[in-house]
Symmetry: C2
Subunit: 156 residues, 2 copies
DNA sequence: GCGCCTGAGTTGGAATTACCAAGCTAGCAG
DNA sequence: CTGCTAGCTTGGTAATTCCAACTCAGGCGC
């Protein structure tokens, strides 16, 4: 996404989020980190087939954005190397991945069936994303409306 | 996103979704359509400041993907023109927008406060996205784990 | 020490994509 | 039959991405 969005765009948190997440490869890197526990340069590269210069750039941006943290690791008899692990902010992207995943399962189905299933840790029971009210009661998607908040500027 | 993702990538519905949603501007166009009821070429162009050739391309792809529908409209004393309205599949992207919105509000805050608030249609009560189990009970995000589904290929 | 291996990157050049200003086209009003 | 407007094209430039090749640092076998 362009780096210097204008001011009204900056007021939208979707636009601000997409500055980092909307770049090519960014969300796929987060997917690898969050869903498949990848941490290393070579793993991301091999799984995604991404060019190394682009991967370097994206990892740096994700670290800058606080989504990944760069750490040292050392395997037995090896030298110190770098790895990239999800931060709290990175883990908080799980609903984003789940929402995209659910939409794709429904509206861009493949013949293969789902590649990822969201479950409850203890019971293994399936879990899905839904809109809920303050009391935790589930709502139908059609009953949700979006209204402009305090920082919204522009015509309705 | 590259058009010809390899086969293992094609098995992932996140990757398939991002083929259309991951391109620059696509999600912002959906945001304008879903949250602000924009329908016209000139509206998207004015709101987003997007180049017209890119907008032409993105609208065509979103129509192809079944997210927008191209329709004729005619205002009094005007000639017939085109507009782009959300389909059911397009409306089903609301959780994706909400998830990105919520993440941005929390992890990329601005000094302006939120620009969009998700509410219940009838009561106007605030609404949020959450993971729920089959009985509609809300779960903590940390209690959700993702396991490989039937189509998953690759090392854990 | 010397070369070799491996993971994590650079570097250089071609190809794709986006940006910007300008122009085009249908139909309707006057 | 001129102007106006929404919805696009076109042409040239700038920015991104792709790809292959190369570097760099440390540990290991010899």
């Amino acid at each position: 996404m362009r780096e210097t969005a204008d001011e009204t765009e900056q007021r939208c948190s979707i636009a601000r989020s997409l500055e980092v997440l909307g770049q090519k490869w960014s969300l796929l890197i987060v997917r690898e980190a969050a869903l498949r526990s990848r941490t290393r340069f070579a793993e991301f590269r091999a799984e995604l087939g991404i060019a190394p210069d682009v991967l370097t750039d994206r990892l740096a941006r994700l670290v800058d954005a606080g989504i990944l943290e760069r750490r040292k690791y050392r395997e037995a008899g090896e030298r110190e190397r770098e790895e990239y692990v999800l931060t709290g902010a990175g883990g908080a992207l799980l609903p984003v991945l789940a929402a995209i995943n659910a939409w794709g399962d429904e509206y861009r189905p493949s013949s293969f069936g789902p590649a990822a299933i969201y479950t409850e840790r203890e019971t293994g029971a399936p879990v899905r994303l839904a809109f809920v009210d303050d009391d935790g009661r589930e709502l139908d998607r059609d009953d949700v409306v979006v209204i402009p908040g305090p920082s919204f500027i522009g015509a309705a």
